[in-house]
């Protein structure tokens, strides 16, 4: 090959039938998963335990039951670790196994990376998307850090709330951040041209 320029391979939709290939364990297929909804590999890992829960809505306000959500996040110290023995910064779930098309990740709250507010990269795939979308999840209780985050502050003020996961305390005392994703509509989630 002696080309100078290689064109990016075009993206295609993940389609409706990704589950047995990409999220087999979650969907009870007899094939191991490379990642799932639990990012905590070893209980000894430091950091605040949190749940990230949410739903994905289409332009009619209907729940999307066949989306796939991926997370990429730093550990509690703000490092993107390549050591998979304690914490896996990558998670992947479909929205087709939990009631009301929810996704629920068990993870730790990420630390600050390069002075940014704590955040999680979120990638959204689904039938009906020829190309996946990237967004970011920020934490509603990080008001001070959020106010200084260059990415969050680059978003129009009236859309920033679409990137904030709302802190809730569940009946069992655990912390859950709710992050819903709206593909369209008045609360359309901010997606980034990463």
């Amino acid at each position: 090959m002696s080309q100078d320029k290689f064109y990016q391979t075009p993206s295609q939709t993940v389609g409706p039938y990704f589950a047995y290939g990409l999220t087999p364990k979650q969907y009870l297929y007899n094939f191991p998963s490379i990642a799932d909804g639990n990012l905590i590999i070893n209980d000894e890992v430091s950091g605040e335990r949190i749940t990230i829960s949410g739903q994905v809505y289409d332009g009619n306000g209907h729940l999307i039951p066949d989306a796939m959500i991926e997370l990429w996040q730093a550990d509690a110290e703000g490092n993107y670790s390549k050591d998979l023995s304690m914490f896996h910064g990558f998670g992947r779930l479909g929205t087709g196994t939990i009631k009301d098309s929810k996704f629920e990740f068990q993870t730790i709250k990420p630390g600050r990376v390069d002075g940014q507010a704590p955040h999680i990269n979120v990638i959204v795939f689904m039938r009906g998307q020829l190309t996946h979308t990237y967004t970011r999840l920020y934490f509603s209780d990080e008001t001070e850090a959020n106010s200084q985050d260059p990415v969050l502050q680059s978003v129009e003020e009236d859309r920033r709330n679409t990137l904030l996961a709302t802190k809730t305390i569940r009946p069992d005392g655990t912390t859950c951040y709710v992050f819903n994703i709206y593909m369209q509509g008045p609360n359309e989630t901010v997606f980034f041209d990463v």
Partner: protein, 232 residues
Amino acid sequence: MSQNKRDWDVQPPFLYPDYKSTVLRAPSRPLVPIKHTLSELTGPVYGHDLIRPFDNDLTMNARVNGAPLGERIIVAGKVTDERGRPISNTLVELWQANASGRYVHKVDQHDAPLDPNFFGGGRCLTDSEGNYKFYTIKPGAYPWGNHPKAWRPNHIHFSLFGNQITSRLVTQMYFPGDPLLDYDPVFQGVPEKYRHLLISNFDLGVTEQDFAIGFRFDMVLRGDNETPFENR
């Protein structure tokens, strides 16, 4: 360090009305530009411990009482960045319908037979030169509800990571000469000039004597746009 953007001359748009389910699922507002930080320039790394024997051989990895039905094929290629530099040791995930055009997926109700000896999912890592190889069965076409007499062309789904979360790619590989490509809005959603990038080529070099014909499908992931350097 920063990274090349998605090339919107090559990539399909979010909204492509002929593919009907894009209408309610495509973002309607423009994407917001972002300056890359460590959060965009890192990504998950997988090692060989993840890969089991036969994970790249879909003719073997789900056998119950014999070989799967259908035409045995080899799909192989090279994964590079936009300068043609190999992307080594990156995870390649693959899934597909069986020879009859039926997915194992529980939601797939297409009235075509399942094959007890075929699962349809596999994975491998690229080698030090960016090469990957799968043994599988040529997938069948299947109908879907997008429009009257809509049939998806034969295709294989691929999912790759590359070196950063921004080089993430999910795509579909097609076969040369498939007449259904002209009618498939998923394929047609790609700008015309670049659709050929999704069609594999019959390749005698990949073909194995008395065993299976080979198709070559190279994939190009977004790369960094700085001066080339090794061991990133």
